[in-house]
Subunit: 298 residues, 2 copies
């Protein structure tokens, strides 16, 4: 049975709506608003944004299915020869209010060229303002479970990929506690297209229950002004990563994508304090000491 | 009489201290604090930061004089052959509290290679949260005056350079109302090294009186929560420009510069509101309509 790009795309759209329902249930107040947009070169998307809820300050869940001609720059950047592409996916960034609830990011995507070449990519990663080891263990265990059904080296490989990708080089710190990241997955001796698709679906499906537990466990925690300052400083680091390093963001800005959908990943507010150093033995200092590659969270 | 790099550098250090005194006088409360740092490869600098004043929320006035070996990447990027460099300059970014006081940026710099090649660069540009035409006229008139003593095409040429440089491509808007920007100035049939140096000094000297008038005229203005929201949104645009496009910032991040000195240009806080559209005929809408290239402010 063949798997068409239309089937993949409509599953992604369903996933978007499902995740929005789950997040609304967890928030209890705010509802997603949807903007539908068309891409001048072909296709379009539905951008869904939740704002000023009980739990979520600003969050975006974006679905797109775009197609058209590749410019020469892009074929060169991708190392491909085809001139027509189809790209569909869901991407999510959620910025909660409570500093003890982590920021989360997910992306699942499928890319196909007119010559039949295709690949899947995606991942989920977590950016706690305060790293809490129990939460980190839960998060990575859920991802490991999603990966282990695919093959036994997926979790260690894709965890390492996330550690390397979500790294703020100029700060010499990771953006958060990583997660999994994968790209250019295509059929091989080891795996069929259908098996990859099943894996990508499993990653998409694990998002809502995994994150809802983290939100539910932390959303009632008390916090003070100092915690909000630290939250905003960590959000500043998030902005630095996304504007300086994130490939999706850079690709979007350079190819004249829909700016509001690309930059919905940025928080409602972020801070930069000159030369901020957390007090020794503080929660903030502990978090900083854990923002490094190669930690075994499970 | 020859002009040495040491003479240029010590004049820049004096300029830094002079400007800090002037800004402290205008603020009336906060004082600059100075961090002195050494560059592992050679040289160092003095970073001076003012915070939480009556007028200035966060501002940095940085002096540096660094030297060392150029990496292959950098000689390629600069299109030069020499392996040793000397670079000195002053760079400033000031973020005021009152939304009607503009953000300002200045940079004056001198670069010299071991083979004797050298150039000057720099400029001043203004980023009002609210564009006020009288202020814009004052600002550009002061810059024009500094340029006209150099030669008669300097102001139009360097104004255009600033319009083109301080442009947020993905937003299709200028960062602010521009100013002047120049780079790679060296002696020619038209101008001696000494004449260029005099011009660069004049640009440096015009900073304090030009900006003090803009601050003094606006710092008492009343403002509301909506004005602060808009200020923070404009600060978000400032962050976008600096992290995505600014060559100095990118160069610093890529060459492992002192991060806190490079990113002192970022505001204490900045905001991103999804798909924000100002009300028609509002002050915010008027400002947006003026954030474009080629406006004759004088």
């Amino acid at each position: 049975m063949s798997l068409t790009k239309e089937q993949i795309s409509s599953w992604f759209r369903e996933l978007q709506l499902h995740i929005c329902n789950e997040l609304e249930a967890e928030d209890g107040l705010a509802k997603f608003e949807e903007d539908t947009w068309n891409r001048p070169g072909g296709g379009g998307g539905h951008t869904r944004v939740i704002q000023h809820g009980n739990v979520f300050e600003k969050g975006g869940v974006n679905f797109s299915a775009v197609h058209g001609n590749l410019t020469e720059n892009i074929t060169k950047a991708l190392g491909v020869n085809s001139s027509e592409f189809y790209a569909t996916g869901v991407s999510i960034v959620i910025h909660p209010i409570n500093p003890f609830v982590p920021i989360i990011h997910m992306n699942v995507r499928y890319f196909e060229l007119s010559d039949g070449t295709y690949w899947f990519g995606g991942g989920i990663d977590l950016t706690p303002h305060y790293v809490q080891k129990e939460d980190a263990k839960h998060f990575h265990s859920c991802l490991k479970q999603a990966c282990d059904g695919f093959n036994d080296h997926a979790y260690p490989d894709y965890k390492k990929w996330a550690d390397d990708y979500f790294f703020i080089k100029h700060r010499k710190e990771t953006r958060g506690i990583g997660g999994v990241f994968f790209d250019r997955l295509k059929e091989s001796d080891e795996q069929s297209k259908f098996e990859i698709w099943n894996f990508v679906q499993r990653v998409g499906e694990t998002f809502a229950p995994t994150y809802r537990k983290l939100v539910a466990d932390n959303k009632q925690k008390a916090y003070e002004a100092g915690n909000l300052q630290w939250r905003n400083l960590r959000r500043g680091r998030y902005v630095e990563f996304n504007l300086v390093y994130d490939k999706g963001t850079k690709f979007g800005l350079e190819t004249d994508g829909r700016i509001e959908s690309i930059l919905m990943s940025l928080p409602e507010n972020a801070s930069w304090y000159y030369n901020f150093q957390p007090e020794s033995n503080s929660l903030e200092a502990e978090t900083l000491s854990l923002l490094k590659k190669g930690v075994d969270w499970v």
